[in-house]
Amino acid sequence: MSGHAIEARDVRKIYRRYSRRRQFSTLKSALLSRSLLRDLRPDDAFEALGGVSFDLDTGRTLGVIGRNGSGKSTLLKLAAGIGKPTSGRITAHGRVSALIELGAGFHPEISGRENVFINGLMLGVPRREISRLFDEIVSFAELESFIDAPVKTYSSGMYMRLGFSVAIHVDPDVLLVDEVLAVGDEAFTHKCLDKFSELRRRGKTTVLVTHSLDLVERFCDEALWLDQGLVRAQGDPRRVIDEYRLDVAGVENAELAAMADQAETASGGAGIVEAGVKPGGPEDLSKAPEGRWGSREVEITRVDLGNAEGRPTHVFETGQGMRIRMGVQAHQVVTDFVFGVGIFDANGTCCYGTNTLIEGGIPESIQGAGEIEFVVDSLDLTPGTYKLDLAVHRANGAPYDYHRQLHVFRVTSHVADVGIYRPHHHWRFSGGVHVEGLR
């Protein structure tokens, strides 16, 4: 077979919301107020898909990515034939199997065996074929000893394994998968992926809706990025994912910037002290919540985060440069002062902390306004969200102005490495060891 397995032409899907009818939600009230026709008219329309077109060649694997609510699942359902597009056309050629919810339609009271048959019949497989495949289905789901027990006694994992096993054994020409791999244990996920690979080798077409960019990059021939019901990019997975990542970083950046603004207003204005915190600061700093305190002879008036070039951002790629710029204002001439910086991960673990005193700086004086820049040449952190402690205090620790975790930034990475610190490194192989694809 050749040609397109799935064709979508300007597919639009509008969900109607009947808010008024939902409020009363009865035929009676509609009849009584003689407003049946008016109530049947949608009050509000929500456009889930706003004109999506694409072709998927037979035998290809397409990964659909996008933020929550971008229309991915709607697209998949329409491709499966569950519901019709409001306008436009979407066709899938051949036998379609949709893994939208595993084990949808299992009846809890009857045995796994009976459920396998009913589920298979529902997917359009003749009884004979289910009988033939039965043992394979059960052994793939690893449920040999439970297959005659009622499904209600199954654990959720068993339930899903059986559902997956039935759906994948019906030998679909087009397999539609909606984020079902997120469930199940590691071993079963691997088994599922192997099964996908097998289908792919046999020239079957697969559409994978997922939030796992990694999966798309490894498994898919093509990627499709949906954003608010529209195709933002389609094509080579690597390229699409990169674009998507950039966009997500942009959005996160905006969010973090908004948070930073909030922090500014929350802590802004001299003399405002976080409630419950003594001007001298909390007893145990490591347990202190976010906040700001200090005697304010010297004040940190603003904080800006920027990349190596100084362009403002709150999202950094691992290994990128970072600049933390602080504006300070001294209300009197101060000669006893230390500037400190602390980086904390989401768990509150201190990843790094330093100050001008530890590093041998000898304070001379601050007078009036000034600026301090803390320049990181290479931000070698693992992906995640980090918070900053910024402070100016006396050598004995008494704070003038302490910003406790008020400033947030995010680190992204192409690699999902773990830990709190990413040593600058590379791999080297020699002899009979060959490794490809390392980034």
Binding site: R16, G83, I100, A104, I118, M122
Partner: protein, 264 residues
């Protein structure tokens, strides 16, 4: 619409399995198991016998003996009819998971409700037959050939209404409550616990508007009354009505098919 009907035929194995599942699951965990299918109509018979022979013995016409058995001829098919519609009205909502997430003809669900209750009806028939033999009514066994015809007509009528009710319930949940009351009304508007001859002549035309009147009278004619089967024209009327109801029900269901997954 007709293409979809043909398409539906391909799913007969699924319908068969779902009916079996329904019957299987219904009595799973109960002590008497599927004997309930026999016990339920028996208990019903007992209750009506008590009311009409002990509490108000004067209410029954003398020529219909035993009166309980006369009622049973109507109650049994009525139970099938009303239980089917009540279950069908809930079938799409109960199976919302399927309707929303699996591609298959959704009309399978209400049809399954009707067929599962047909099986219960068939379980009740031997009991009815046993009592008919025991009391030796005047009905001749030859007339039993009409029984499958009447059942077939009722099946068509019930499926048509079931499709209608199932689809409408998804759009208006109150159809369920409306239906329960409507069925009670219809029960008394059908000559089941009284012979149609007992109804005043002025009321009879109205009773005849109710398709189930024809069915009930036909059941009574085929199973209970003596003499030849005289309800052929009644059957013809209700058969025509059933075809219309079925087509209308299927047409409506087919039209609403695409919005069902969004609304359940």
């Amino acid at each position: 619409m007709f293409a979809n009907l043909r398409h539906l035929f391909r799913y007969r194995a699924l319908i068969r399995s779902l009916v079996a599942r329904d019957l299987n699951a219904r009595y799973r965990g109960s002590l008497l198991g599927f004997f309930w299918s026999f016990v339920n109509p028996l208990l019903l018979l007992l209750i009506y016998s008590f009311v009409f022979t002990v509490v108000m013995p004067g209410a029954r016409p003398a020529e219909l003996q035993p009166f309980a058995l006369f009622m049973f001829c109507g109650i049994l098919p009525w139970s099938w009819f009303s239980a089917s519609l009540l279950e069908a009205s809930n079938s799409l909502i109960a199976g919302s998971n399927l309707v929303k997430k699996v591609l298959f003809p959704a009309e399978v669900l209400p049809i399954t409700s009707v067929l599962a209750n047909l099986v219960h009806f068939c379980y009740g028939l031997p009991i009815l037959g046993l009592f008919l033999l025991l009391y030796d009514t005047q009905a001749s066994p030859v007339k039993l050939v009409w029984l499958p015809v009447i059942v077939a007509i009722q099946l068509l009528l019930t499926i048509g209404l079931a499709l209608l009710v199932a689809a409408l319930t998804v759009l208006f949940r109150d159809v369920r409550d409306l239906l329960a009351n409507l069925l009670t009304f219809l029960f008394f508007a059908t000559p089941i616990i009284y012979p149609i001859s007992l109804a005043p002549a002025s009321v009879q035309p109205y009773l005849n508007l109710n398709p189930f009147t024809h069915l009930a009278v036909a059941y009574q004619g085929a199973l209970f009354r003596g003499g030849p089967f005289t309800d052929g024209d009644r059957l013809l009327v209700v058969a025509a009505e059933s075809v219309v109801v079925f087509l209308a029900g299927y047409f409506l269901f087919d039209r609403l098919r695409d919005i069902l997954p969004e609304e359940v």
